[in-house]
Symmetry: C2
Amino acid sequence: MKNYISHDPWNIVEEGFHREHNEITESLMSLGNGRMGGRGNFEEKFSGKTLQGNYVAGVYYPDKTRVGWWKNGYPEYFAKVLNATNWIGIDIDIEYESLDLNTCEVRDFRRVLNMQEGYLERSFVAVFKSGKELKVVSKRFCSIVDDEAGAIRYAITPLNFDAKITITPYLDGAIRNKDANYDETFWDEVRKETGYGEAYIELRTRKTGFHVATGMCVEIEQDGVRIDYQSQPIKYEKYVANRITLDCRQEQETAIYKYGVNLSSLNRATDRYDSDELLQEARLYMQRVSRKGYEKMLFEQKQAWADKWKMNDITIDGDDRTVAAQQGIRFNIFQLNQTYTGEDERLNIGPKGFTGEKYGGSTYWDTEAYCLPFYLATADQKVARNLLVYRYKQLGKAIENAQKLGFKAGAALYPMVTMNGEECHNEWEITFEEIHRNGAIAYAIYDYVRYTGDEAYLVEYGLEVLIAISRFWSQRVNWSEAKQQYVMLGVTGPNEYENNVNNNWYTNYIAAWTLRYTMEVVEKVKALSPDRYAELCDRIHFQEEKEIGKASHIVGHMHYPYDETRQVFLQQSDFLDKELLSVSDIPKGQRPLNQHWSWDRILRSCFIKQADVLQGIYFFEDEFDHSTIARNFDFYEPMTVHESSLSPCVHSVLASLLGKKEKAYEMYLRTARLDLDDYNNDTEDGLHITSMAGTWLAVVKGFGGMRVEQTDAGQYGLRLSPYCPDGWQKLAFKIRFRGALLQVTTTQQTVTVENFSAQPVTLFVYGAPVTVAGNGTQTVGVKTNTAEA
Amino acid sequence: MKNYISHDPWNIVEEGFHREHNEITESLMSLGNGRMGGRGNFEEKFSGKTLQGNYVAGVYYPDKTRVGWWKNGYPEYFAKVLNATNWIGIDIDIEYESLDLNTCEVRDFRRVLNMQEGYLERSFVAVFKSGKELKVVSKRFCSIVDDEAGAIRYAITPLNFDAKITITPYLDGAIRNKDANYDETFWDEVRKETGYGEAYIELRTRKTGFHVATGMCVEIEQDGVRIDYQSQPIKYEKYVANRITLDCRQEQETAIYKYGVNLSSLNRATDRYDSDELLQEARLYMQRVSRKGYEKMLFEQKQAWADKWKMNDITIDGDDRTVAAQQGIRFNIFQLNQTYTGEDERLNIGPKGFTGEKYGGSTYWDTEAYCLPFYLATADQKVARNLLVYRYKQLGKAIENAQKLGFKAGAALYPMVTMNGEECHNEWEITFEEIHRNGAIAYAIYDYVRYTGDEAYLVEYGLEVLIAISRFWSQRVNWSEAKQQYVMLGVTGPNEYENNVNNNWYTNYIAAWTLRYTMEVVEKVKALSPDRYAELCDRIHFQEEKEIGKASHIVGHMHYPYDETRQVFLQQSDFLDKELLSVSDIPKGQRPLNQHWSWDRILRSCFIKQADVLQGIYFFEDEFDHSTIARNFDFYEPMTVHESSLSPCVHSVLASLLGKKEKAYEMYLRTARLDLDDYNNDTEDGLHITSMAGTWLAVVKGFGGMRVEQTDAGQYGLRLSPYCPDGWQKLAFKIRFRGALLQVTTTQQTVTVENFSAQPVTLFVYGAPVTVAGNGTQTVGVKTNTAEA
């Protein structure tokens, strides 16, 4: 755990240069706009510890799989997020000395990610070996408004000398993925060109054939006045630059404005790559943004971020200590918004977003299990819908994937990790066995329809996906003669510290639930649109009677491991053969377990990486009574080491539900500041983007007690049971629900719901209906959850 | 399955060149002498399908581990058998045409491995594009007598032309391992030299620093007379050659004698590698063998092989069909003798011997479980003893290995795959979990002492190993509160088509057995040598009372999964939840399963790769009654797919025991001709050396019913219950037992035991004592095993 980032409600601040933590800071200060992004690298050369990273959404490379021992069924390729052309680079040289913070002395260094307005700012004085002192102030952003562009203002001021300064803005596509399996280069150069103050380069990915045209345009001001300059074009393999030499006087500010554009063939209709059509589009795009100009772009950026924050800010008031909590939640919301905007149904939420390369792929079950609720409640309905459509469009590949594993008749197994629908992962215990992911995809459909009421989605897309997933579950279970029940052998549950177990309770439960829900949706779709239903049955050869018959039998005879003595669900068969210990029994210095224990020791221990039975209870809370939830929480929580970033949030939500406020708060802090404090010693690889949604869940579903549930009248209604954690004076969050935008403000005494929409909204606060008039406010007293007793 | 190798009792014969199977033939025709060896490659250039392979025993390279996803505890390196300098090469060029059987037309091709005399012979006529016809006859062997040398006679005869022929004998060290993880080169050149008719090259392995000096010496005869010749030295990186151009007349035979020596630093006291000391030793060694000369060397080779066959030949008489069975068993015995001679306790039996690179390492549990009985019964006692001492010497590393996995207080876990005692394997489910191997090492001590009566071994080495292994088992089990028994969670049994299971019956059984046997040996060593016992207790901190107390408690409370209904042992917990099918239920075209099913499907199926419960019953046969053995055989055999080469032999032995003669014979044929007929489509990678011992087991323990067991008087005696498989007229095998050499000859009617030693021997035939006088013979009638009924 590290603590060098200053606590501040709106900014991520590095005071003084922490050279040893530079890769962590680069991750934290990443910028993105859903379409392109990159790490918080320096514009100028840096010979110290750095992970250069620039990424273009949806552009990937199928890297040849690397395994020790091949298993039949492994995918040949792992789709990797590609490190793309560096468009931010500006080298500075002064009479044979290069500006490089690894070799210069650094004074007054400050690097700030401004989350409120969406930019990265940096200022410092570099002292060269010759004694020359150069002041630098830079500001950079990826535009949300012009989402294929970014801009930089890079200002240098000689403090104690006059000199000719050479400024070399460049585009560098000669980059490699740090995580390439075989050190291959993923990009080929197609063409490049330089012009006055401009340069363009077009690269093509090997194998996948994506083209990306990157351009730069450079303007220079001295003393606040734009100047003409001479530039010398420089071209190397996959590299273009303009070298500019200027006379700079002591105390005179020279400001370099560098505009960058990144156009990907993914977003362009053209396939005429023999011509320079894509480059031409980049030129036009560049013309547009450079004419708009840096200041206007920045102004629009601030406005766009203000709009976003209006929709999904969370504020925490309290003493000084709450600043860390405030900063944490805003950081999470900010990064989620930078990663995914929901405007393109072909994109998804990569585990590292635009902040690193690790884990490749773009889509895990994290999207459905953790991220969807965030986007449902904070963005337009179409954003969440696009996440669902993404999976619908990959249904064919999911069916192929299941076929490879021996399933048939339209059964679908969604991949563990994917970019284009094909499986990318290659550990048998995960790729082939962590099949609960399939259930999360079904659950997301339920979650979306419950939240939005968009039943048309079921007709159009949902049922087809549900049937395919249900077919998988029906084939995956087998009848145990010994138990006279259905069992599911050889699976890995959400807790990846168990592999190849039998009857993982969570997996069995979500499998049977999927079958139940599919049967329900079949009835619904039949009622809503008999024609569409008939068409679907015909197209996918759905034999209602036979398939529903089998499904019902499975639902009625599924085996759920259970401990009669403790009255808790068992994570899997034979769980009680383990030595049941508590995390507090683990000797000091042996955590995280996965860095200290061999894998077999972890597997046979009782220790849990992330919520498993509790994940199921979290999903299906309505189906369990309070004391069941409490017993299971009390049994499993002490064994859980939370070595997955996705674990604490679920525990926090359930702890809130159970009135275990201290535990809820402890778990909240762990998720909110996971990256800021580098809890797991891995922030340098990039941020834990998907788990950031979990932080939001801990606040809104946890402290806020927000649920959508069926009322007695059969309607779905919003429920709130908020409380303010001890030490906080006020917690306020915004949520969108079926057209309304609400703000919920909770103090230690009262809950106030503000309705920003014109229509009145009726919701349930602590179970009692509360109607808030259009543009009105309602306040009720806080009810303390007494479940703790 | 392939069928191009001619059936012949003493020879492996390829009639006509089977270009498409060349890599298979190269494996089959490998030569070795325990110290060096190589594949049956051609001497001359060959541009077709070939796997060049020359190997020097004990010389390895720690290749950097390659995995997809790293697990804590994985070894950094995988010790690979090294492809070493090619010493056999002789290029032939005639006026700009090269002799290359891939480009020439080939006539009258014949390649024969003569197993009786231990050499490889080849003859053919090559027709060049120019129409020139060249006859070639080559003969090559690795000398058993001079085991760092080999020799070749390579004779060429122009059939229809006179010409200058260029002959280039060479040494080529510029070779790579085909299975290198990162395409690295493993050798560096140290020095090289050429002289008249001679050349030497010394290479050093990277990282491990082994030096190997390889030399060649060339003599030439024309018309049977040794001639002088001019040679041009050629040197490239890691390559030396002598180019010799000779006038050759039509019908004149030119015979090239090439001697090769391979001296490894492993066998030399010197460590002065800055001088050419090793090369100098190679020169002296070469002088000695070349003076001895090819004919004398070959004569000695034939004699040495005759001596070996005298000790361990097995003969089968019958109709034509028995020739295949005869050839199969001889091939297995021949290759085992080529691989391991037992003279060097630092060596072991590599899975591919000198016939290929695959699987790296040199030592698996195969050595103890399958190979030891072969060497016990066919070689001097010291050979088997050296196999045991090999493990004793690696005890320290085994203790370190266990420590890495969290065990303490002198617990030892022997590696799954090793060269120098360090673990080389890197699949968690095997490396960390296939721990039954530890039991096999304990069992081998028991097996050795039972066979030889060498109780001094227990005092000197055995007990120390047993205590360390027992400590491992005592720590590896845990007490299950639910079962009120000890359980062993998360293991992989011998059947690798199950991973990470709980309570693998075989593993639990061998663990408890090890504890029992250790307790017994403690008492024995205390009685035999109280001083040594006291010294040992002190040195390894053995706390007798405490450790034996724990061990007894485990022995008394171990959990053994059992099916009360069928009265069979269960391979593991929850085995009965599986769908219990028979191999005959597997749809056609889906075998071998591991090439058609994804791993998870294999795991959750009931299908068994290799004997698991039956392996345990085979080891501990005395502890089960006949009907228990029969019930378990009948339950498991139909589910077994035998996709490990180590499976059929165990089934064959048990089938013989149970009187299931047809099954025994089917399983025998499957193991005996596994490589000759390329059953598993992988002979091209090299031969299945360790499973060859299983073939011998199927004959001697299976058909011969040979056992060593404790008599009522407490002595160990040899027991025989032989039968002759249907269709065989006579089966004869030789065994050594406690100083005596016996031949057992079985016909359909009688069993004759011939005693080649001077002392009388009493053994038990069909349970009745039979005494055979020194140099005498006894015959009894065959008793048909009636257990089938």
